[in-house]
């Protein structure tokens, strides 16, 4: 068990190294340097050279890289060119928004997927099952931005059930109950959209798992000794199928991160994905670099988490 976890950690180290190297090369190739905006055409070229020397931009690339990684570890990514604040402060504000949105999405995702998957497996080949299969096919095939736009159009603009932009009503006083209710109210539609898109894997997994479990010996034994059918499903089969589903949480995180760029842009929700797009538009390279690094790190962490939970739940994939 521990061997698997340690080994999995060791694999992550070179991945992190290559990721940081890749992002460093990307950052070096982005136009501009830390002084963009400070230099005017009147600045003396000698002064520019002096500044470059002072900030170590003339050092060999590996020294620059080492310094960059050292700073990145301390959360030091320089200053944002557009917002004139530290990149870490800027991302910190947005990260909380994205975190709450992702949390609500994950709750909705499991709340939709688990009952649908279990019931579809239980009533295999019924009209309900066929409906679930159709639903999971559509949510698999539909692109994120198309679903988000259509939902926003109908529920936001036509029916006006939900707000169409922002993360909170500006009239609410921060800290009041109404403030938090307004926050959740703003998150419902974007969270629902990305939850629907993420359900396919869990529904399909649970459905086949329950269908397979029906013919298992332990289920037959339980039925034979007189356990009611409902209880067999809720206690025996459900528990057995649910643990592996918990392991999907890591992949869910990875998937949500990728989708957050579309979702946050379309719903104008001030999270990290929207910050990324607006930084690209304003060519705010220090913010871009930090965000790509953060997303890459979180994605690696997500797959690490999934693998560890998997190895706890399923002893077969452990390495001896």
């Amino acid at each position: 068990m521990w061997k698997t976890v340690v080994r999995r950690f060791l694999i992550m180290i070179p991945q992190l190294f290559v990721l940081s190297l890749l992002i460093f090369i990307m950052a070096k190739n982005m136009p501009g340097d830390p002084f963009t905006g400070k230099i005017t055409p009147e600045t003396d070229p000698a002064r520019i050279e002096e500044l470059r020397e002072l900030n170590g931009l003339n050092d060999p690339w590996y020294e620059q890289y080492a310094r960059w990684v050292g700073n990145a570890f301390q959360g030091e990514f320089g200053n944002s060119y557009t917002y004139k604040v530290k990149v870490s402060t800027l991302i910190g504000e947005r990260a909380m928004n994205t975190f709450w949105l992702s949390l609500l999405t994950a709750v909705m995702l499991y709340a939709i997927a688990v009952p649908l998957g279990v019931l579809a497996g239980r009533f295999h080949n019924s009209w309900f099952d066929r409906g679930v299969v159709l639903y999971s096919f559509i949510s698999y095939a539909i692109p994120t931005f198309v679903l988000a736009l259509i939902l926003l159009y109908f529920f936001g603009y036509k029916l006006q059930w939900f707000p169409t932009t922002g993360s909170v009503d500006v009239r609410e006083v921060p800290g009041s109950a109404g403030y938090y209710i307004s926050k959740i109210y703003h998150m419902i539609l974007p969270a629902f959209t990305s939850a629907v898109l993420g359900t396919v894997a869990i529904i399909q997994y649970l459905r086949t798992e329950v269908v397979d479990a029906k013919s298992m010996d332990y289920v037959r034994t339980a039925r034979a000794k007189g356990v009611p059918a409902n209880k067999v499903y809720s206690k025996h089969i459900f528990r057995n199928s649910l643990l592996p589903v918990a392991a999907f949480i890591g992949f869910t995180i990875t998937g949500l991160l990728g989708g957050s760029i579309f979702i946050e842009t379309i719903f104008a929700y001030p999270g990290m994905g929207q910050l990324f797009i607006s930084s690209i538009a304003s060519r705010d390279y220090s913010v871009i670099t930090a965000l790509v690094m953060l997303y890459g790190f979180l994605a690696l962490l997500g797959s690490l988490l999934s693998d560890i939970i998997m190895s706890i739940v399923d002893p077969r994939i452990r390495i001896e």
Binding site: Q15, L19, M30, I261
Partner: protein
């Protein structure tokens, strides 16, 4: 005598295993929805290419302020956009571009993925190890963000650079799948027999192993074609896809970023969004039917 011969013939026909196309055909006959999707897919794709012959891009993109945001009428079937350009014409030209680019990306990622997958699966050893590490790494990358960054920092940005950048991140899933199939196929007796006879590795890979996994290749190509339409239109929607000179379905959908267009002038963006939806649903469904046909255990027909 004659009757007996007939009988024999009949028996032969019945016992002959159905060949590739027959299996696929049976699957589509059995599954009405798949047949319906196939018809929709063929109609949509051929319709776009045929209709695009009747539209001159310069004529369509012509700005005429008098018909700014004109609602659908007999002159403009789907109305007009902010510049008064015909939306239906843009839809057709955009769809043609989107389809062509998705085809190009599918061809590139497919070829690279198949080559690498076959090499990994057949040779195994260090080649396999090396590529699998690379693929594992690619899969955990936040590829959407990195594609966007690449697109922003590339100096001379054209349609070809776009295709290349997207392809750079698209080959891994095909390579992984082909590898797993080629791996099990390469351990079969016929491959060993061929090796013993001294057949060249390349001949074994391309003339013996590849035809045996061709059904999977076709399925994957169909599904990744649908996926690539989604990626291209999605990136263009965000503003990091095709250059403005080449309209795509995503360009039309991107008008929805303006709340006024989204709520009031729905004819500008909604048809394009629905067209993407129809393409994705039908192509994916056809792909899944093909996948069932390729796997004897899942066939309906």
């Amino acid at each position: 005598m004659v009757k007996e011969k007939d009988n024999k013939k009949e028996q032969e026909i019945i016992s002959a295993p159905p060949t590739g196309m027959q299996v696929v055909w049976r699957e589509f006959i059995k599954d009405r929805v798949a047949m319906f999707s196939l018809i929709i897919m063929v109609l949509a794709i051929s319709g776009v290419f045929i209709a695009s012959l009747f539209f001159d891009p310069a004529e369509v993109m012509k700005v005429s302020l008098r018909s700014k945001y004109a609602p659908p009428s007999s002159l403009h079937w789907l109305g007009a956009d902010i510049g008064g350009s015909d939306v239906f014409g843009q839809l057709i030209i955009g769809a043609k571009n989107s389809l062509l680019i998705a085809i190009a990306i599918t061809l590139i990622t497919g070829t690279v993925g198949i080559f690498i997958g076959l090499a990994c699966g057949y040779f195994g050893g260090w080649i396999d190890n090396m590529f699998m590490r690379i693929i594992d790494f690619f899969i955990t990358l936040p590829s959407l963000m990195i594609i966007i960054v690449f697109i922003t920092i590339v100096p001379k940005y054209t349609v070809f650079t776009f295709i290349l950048i997207v392809s750079l991140f698209g080959w891994t899933s095909i390579a992984r799948l082909v590898r797993s199939k080629a791996l099990s196929e390469s351990r079969r007796d016929y491959v060993n027999a061929s090796k013993t006879l001294g057949t060249n590795d390349f001949v074994i890979i391309f003339k013996e192993v590849m035809p045996n996994i061709s059904s999977i290749l076709i399925v994957e190509a169909t599904l990744s074609f649908a996926g690539n339409i989604g990626i291209e239109t999605g990136l263009t929607f965000l503003g990091f896809g095709l250059p403005p000179s080449t309209p795509s379905l995503g360009t039309l959908v991107a008008y929805a970023n303006n709340p006024l267009v989204m709520s009031t002038y729905w004819w500008v963006w909604l048809p394009a969004a629905l067209f993407i939806l129809i393409l994705m649903l039908s192509i994916n469904y056809v792909g899944q039917a093909l996948r069932r046909a390729a796997d004897a255990k899942q066939r309906l027909g």
